[in-house]
Amino acid sequence: MSRRRGRLQTRIARHIAFAVVVSLVLSALVLVVFRHRYVQQNMERSALTYASLISTPLVTFTEFLGSGGHGLLDQQVARLRELNQDVERLDVVNVSGRLVLRSASGEIFVYSDGIDAPVINDRGLLRAISGLETTASRVTELDGSRAYRVVAPVVQQWGGHTYSVIGTFSYSSVDRQLRSSLWLSALVLAVGLGLTQWVSVTLAGGISGDVEKLRESVQRIQEGNLTERVSVSSHDEIAELAEAFNLMANELQATIRRLRQANRELETLDQTKADLVANVSHELKTPLTALRGYLELMSEGGLGGIADEAQRAVMVCRKNVQRLSLRVEELVQLSRLDRFTALDTTREDVDLGSLLEGVFETIKPRLEDRKMEFVLRVEPDLPVLEVNLEQLERVFLNLFDNAVKFTPQGGSVLVAAKACSHDDRAGVQVRITDSGVGIPASELIRIFDRFHQVDPSSRRRFGGMGLGLSLVRSIVEAHLGAVWAESEEHVGSTFFVWLPMPEDGGITTVTEGPSVRLDSGGEDRPAVEEM
């Protein structure tokens, strides 16, 4: 994670360094420019003074020594030149612009006045010479270097003859000084950059260190260490952020403590409920077993023969005990469904056709009892489903049982199973159509709710507690399927159960040959059967 820290630190450091470098460079530039101007002005001023000071002696030497004493003139001119290091050339010209003397690079030329001496060929210079005025100008010489030229006129006290001195001064000393100050600035800049680097990294490290502390704390909380708090040495926004973070951590810790507490309570409650269900089922089933056992013994003559009237009473008792047992089992199963872990999720390959037939066999006695027609039509080549056999048996037992329960004597129930897709998923659909009392449209949505019955009085008429359909829905939904109903009052209802094919596509296997038609016989048989 130091990689991230490095990134923030580098970013801050880069910003600081940029600001410092820019100001350093700017100030160095300003310093250099001012120094350069100062040095240049200084040099020009001293050149001007020098030119006007030496003009008279130079002209005098030229006049007196030029005609014969060259050696002496050399000495005198050399002495004058020593007074200013910048002087490059000294010229003496007469008033018509002809050179009288030229001293350049230590050599000296003396021209015989007025004959073969070259004429200064510069209008500005000639104007200055003829006007006898003192001028100074910056010029660029033929070899490209800059120079400072001063024209100093010399007026002889006795008049008549006039000369001017033209001094040419080099800027090389100024340039040298400029270079040296540039070097100095560069040096200072380099040292400054080094310092900037160190200072900015240190400063940035301070900031990013605090941020890093915060980040580490966040990570520790993420890892589940809820007691983690952060302390920051600064008193700025980062400190405020740290404080806010600590407050949040406090809240989080408290909330999680509350949630854990609540969860523990829920777990206890859930366990209590599970125990309760187990106890209730024990408490209800044990007496039911005793009742059922004795009633069966009695009705089958195991305890000696009994009168016909008594036999009929015993049969009624048996039927009701059977009903009670079914309801108890329903309750237990439904309460199990509420617990996430309790719904058995084991799946096996199930052939729906045989499953439906098996369920039909179970309810057959009741059909015969009520003289009803029951048709089971299974499409051939239905895919094999991956489902929980027991749970699906419960689904269809409940639906068949409902269809029979709500269809009057002599009515009919049609069950049809076919391959059919639902919401673009392949699967199998089972349709259970009865010719019963039907369900009002307003009730259709709610029939799958727990304890819901269309008409409260139906509880007495038809039995059941309104748990059957909610159990059906729970199981079907646990299988990722769908269940719904259509109905017309006094005409009948149709229930649809759709179950998806296994995820891997499910290979179609042969199940039933032709559809089977099973009509109930008319003979009276006891309604109580093993289930």
Binding site: H282, K285, T286, L288, R292, E296, L303, D344
Partner: protein, 128 residues
């Protein structure tokens, strides 16, 4: 005739089970307390034990465990009678060493059928 030991804390249930089994010609011993039942079972070595799971003090599961730990009770067939009908409960009981499982409320015929089957299995094993 085969001797069957019935253990259930409910006197009515004991009575019913005994009645059903005696009507079918079995010899029946009963007990309503888990601890004394265990001691008697080990002493009398019955041909089959009919065991209720939910009992106070020493419940059926514990009794079954203790019975299987004792060499004298390791082989006796045990048919468990329980109100719990879940898969997990049945599986757990069978893993503890029960030979079969019957859920309340059961019919007398079913009970007799299971008892006969278990006895036949046990006899087959001893003969072999």
């Amino acid at each position: 005739m085969a001797r069957i030991f019935v253990v259930d804390d409910e006197p009515d249930m004991v009575d019913l089970l005994a009645t059903i089994l005696r009507a079918d010609g079995f010899e029946v011993e009963t007990d309503t307390d888990g601890r004394s039942a265990l001691a008697r079972m080990l002493a009398e070595s019955p041909d089959l034990v009919l065991l209720d799971l939910m009992m106070p003090d020493l419940d059926g599961m514990e009794l079954l465990k203790l019975l299987r730990l004792d060499p004298k009770g390791a082989d006796v067939p045990v048919l468990v009678v329980s109100a719990r009908s879940g898969h997990q409960d049945q599986l757990g009981t069978l893993q503890l060493g029960a030979n079969a499982y019957i859920c309340k409320p059961f019919s007398p015929r079913e009970l007799v059928r299971q008892v006969r089957q278990l006895l036949a299995n046990a006899q087959g094993e001893t003969r072999e």
